[in-house]
Symmetry: D2
Subunit: 349 residues, 4 copies
């Protein structure tokens, strides 16, 4: 059994991670940290876990974590992650970082978008970006640290990377109109997350300056070998979870929806069990609670409109983190994510 | 025009109050206070008011308020209210207090339930309890301070007072199972009010110790001339606004639902335009955004089950505050609350 | 008093219309029709109206309507409207039609998008399109029939018409990514409107073929004197009411957000009390229950992003219908819509 | 592998059943029926299953079902179930019936509450009531047909049976104030289930005549050896799923909350992994998506208030159906329900 620690265990992503790892046949959760002084049973922090996990959420230092765990899922906020992770790595731990701290590839872009000086720039450049559906992602059994992708980013890239790689759509002027449930805003109380503020309302935010923008541009550019530039507009929707991206693209030549669907199907066809190229228009409730990303396309007014939907807490965070973990340990990519599925696990199971 | 100030103007109740007063033909809103240092335009605090009211939310002292206003609607929390109101009264202002500070009639009960020493006990005893549907409420043009009732309290009392006054139900063992929308918890960020905590969930809270309990007991006892004791259990429901009370009562003698409905109809019949005795089972959406309270009864297993529904922010707070204000100024009780209704306003309108 | 009939009184738009007309100082609601055989008290159909309106919803023929009413608000579905309205007009009634039947200007486009042969094509061409914020709308005291605009259409046009008229943005390739609450889908039970289908989900629909598309193109082309073509993508959002349009536009020349805001302000500045050009990003909850439309702009990736929000049942349907009614009768445009507002009504009120 | 058929596969309960069975290591889903003429791929009916199950929803007769399956989960409505099940049993199939048709034990009570003549009365009397947490439930490897309990019923009985069996509370006058999400009302379109009817509203229904009442009375009476009578009031809450029961009980003698908790803990202690006796007040979101039922108690005004929460579609329907199935096949009771949990499966897994 791999012993796993989760740092920043009070949040919504950490809860999803715990729920997935509880059904992973090769993992035991051995440590949960919080930056609060008070130590609490995990079932006080997340009552849904009552009777299912007997670990306390507590403040632990690196040596205590290293003693108890082999791998760390770091759910700390950006900034706090890069302050913590170098120590964990030095202590020999393997790390999946769910923050944004190791996703970009140069410190300057990081400094500019996050308003913080990056304190670990060398590692930033060499850390693989863990979106396992991208060829050449570089996450394997030799890797000690993986940067887990952003939720909006995954939803966008899984749909656009195939089309851009084949040069079926233009690399600039892509519009991503994105809609997210409120859990994406985290579990720290603030006015804009209150029930009576979010309920019965949809609102845009972060227009032109959301931090997933450079991440989308960077990864799509790398994946397609050209300079990709997107216009990204996120919106807050009155629901717990789910992201829907509606993407407007200009095809480069003669085209049909069938061509685009074929390209998507070929890219995601072999072995990428978590991307579903569907005929119907995706609804977030059809991916909610799962690690799937549903994608389809339509034509409208001469543009290609691409839709993708995923659960921001799972395929957008905790689920892909477990995919990365599985790759780091040579486990089947679906382990813990599709329990009971025939063929999930080969071997002695 | 009566010049009105609202203290504690950032909350949900204050917003409803402003919306009602904007359609009141005899009121001008002249001051809005906040305990925050920063002064803001009201449309920044409540964007729904953009272009409709040009007053700033600012920190004001008693003399500034007294200079600008004739009447004060005090939406401060309990404790803060009783620290502020004596000064306002001394300055000659008339006050409708929406907090709990002047609702009970002895300081000891207050101290016990609110965990605070009451600092204005003499006035506590003599302040009228402003539930205008109760006979002898005592709110009239001579009154300087009125205690506005609690939301759960109003929903309970409007339904139970008639039946208790006529001794149709037993005075003890009444069970009030109450359900409220989240706006009742206020606009201060805390974990339990976050969208992802409240959404897709119903939960009880304050079982056996909610502060509206002694208020319900006191007012029902006074209204019916006997010692009334209720068991009160509130629940949080995933909706913005609305309270539904389901009340289980033991009839005192032979009875039928028709008897009970007749008693309710007679009590609320003459001139109480805001209580509707209905045949259908009440839904909160049928009172939402209105100053109505809908009430009906059913028989179940030998018990009388009474249902009442109201909008916690309006009939449970801001709407009844305006009813009280109207009584204090000799205006029609419906002024501002039923705009355009034939006969709302007699005279020179 | 003007005597008003509402046809198709069981729906959500009809309910909003009733609520507005109840607070209109010059209107009496005298007839409500339904196509169901059973006649019901309006408070059975809409319990929120209990005690507020004593009119039955019943099947009425044209002569009965003409006997009771002066003006008809027609909330029938498209097709049913054009089958009914000629008779109403012949009987001397004035009509505000809330369906799509008289919005377009040629029968062929209607036939193509609605899959129905238009049965009253001459009148189609000459009926004014009642969006009162557009110069030259043509709704005045001489008019017998007005076509009330669509909800998505109003939200789009109020924001885009000013910019297109001044040629500040290109006329083609405008992308309108629209989000609507579920009440927009009407009150007829169907699987896709069920609570457990809509809740916790956002989904696109009608991509490339929504019937508001030709209406938007037509009205914007007419308003700006050029051929406008939009790409329109509606989405269903888990909320009762509200529409948010996120619109991506290519500016024609050198520009700044300030320029665009100035253009919007000038267009909507004089006397258009229901359009608010705001600095903050609009949320639908800040227009919910009101007749306001909030608009702002931002720059993103070289594009102009325009946001507009309105309540689909009010500013998108019942509220603008009352604006049109007011224009047809020479009443202040705000009558019934901003009760109590100083200056709403000039004269003997 | 056991081959399973699901009858009535279009509903919400059937979907949950499919999701659970997909992660059951000993089950293969081989047939899905619908009473509609049209045959559809299951992913059209339930898009969340895209790519996960390749079975069509189709109209099948008994012999076709018997050819494909060993066990049938019958999700047909009451009435339709008893018309179908005798034929299935004759064909040698084993059946878990999720309808109410075999839950009661005499035809007369059934006829009275369901308004239908029971057509299979002998089998009604002898069919075990499949609530596996009750001692003597009688579901084992010899049983061919099991009646799966109602959702409200399970939530009530799991909490009250222990206290009644030990005579800690009085058998009559128990009040069950129950609150349910909308999925409990099924997936057939009707006005009362529409999003804009349910959202932002809580409403009582079925007061004094809900069909789970005789089921609760019967099972509690049988479990405790005395005549139990409850007053049951269900309410509809704006959420997809979840049931909360608030139960008011009169203790029979001297008591404390600790006594009651101890009794609950002993009853549910050994091997009932799906009932959690918790200290905190239960929220439905803490059992949502799980097969757990959370229970706690409080004192209020001399009464014992008992709270229980479960997911109506899982522990209240599909989850307990799989528990029953596991008992019928000698599988671990948790198989399929707690994937990955250490010790779920003993043997060759």
């Amino acid at each position: 059994m791999v012993r796993a620690a989760i740092l920043g265990s009070r949040g919504y992503t950490a809860l999803e991670l715990i729920k997935i790892l509880l059904q992973h046949p090769r993992v035991e959760i051995t440590a949960l940290t919080t930056r609060q002084d008070e130590s609490s049973d995990v079932s006080q922090v997340h009552p849904i876990l009552s009777g299912r996990l007997d670990v306390r959420c507590e403040r632990l230092d690196v040596s205590e974590i290293a003693e108890r765990a082999d791998v760390v899922f770091c759910c700390l906020p950006h900034g706090a992650s890069m302050a913590t992770i170098p120590g964990l790595l030095d202590a020999g731990l393997r790390v999946v970082d769910l923050s944004a701290d190791y996703r970009l590839d140069d410190a300057q872009t990081y400094n500019q978008w996050y308003g913080l000086k990056h304190t670990d720039p060398d590692r930033l450049a060499e850390t693989p970006y863990g979106l396992p559906e991208l060829p050449g992602h570089g996450v394997d059994e030799t890797i000690q640290l993986v940067a887990n992708p952003g939720c909006y980013t995954s939803a966008s890239i899984l749909a656009l990377a195939p089309l851009l790689s084949e040069r079926l759509i233009e690399a600039t002027g892509i519009i991503i109109d994105a809609k997210s449930g409120v859990s994406g805003a985290g579990r720290s109380p603030k006015l804009s997350n209150l029930y009576p503020e979010c309920n019965e309302s949809i609102s845009p935010y972060g227009v032109g300056n959301h931090r997933h923008t450079p991440e989308i541009d960077l990864v799509l550019s790398r994946a397609s070998g050209q300079a990709v530039k997107v216009v990204f507009t996120p919106h807050l929707v009155p629901m717990d979870r789910g992201i829907l991206c509606t993407m407007y693209c200009r095809p480069t030549g003669q085209w049909s929806c069938e061509d685009m669907m074929r390209s998507l199907g070929e890219f995601h066809g072999d072995g990428h069990r978590f991307v579903r190229i569907v005929d119907h228009l995706p609804r977030t409730r059809d991916v909610s609670g799962t690690n799937f990303c549903d994608i389809t396309v339509r034509e409208s007014g001469g543009l290609l409109v691409v839709f993708s939907a995923l659960d921001n807490l799972i395929k957008g965070a905790a689920g892909v983190a477990v995919q990365n973990f599985n790759l780091m340990y040579g486990f089947p990519e679906t382990a813990g994510l599709l329990p009971g599925r025939a063929g999930e696990w080969s071997g002695d199971e």
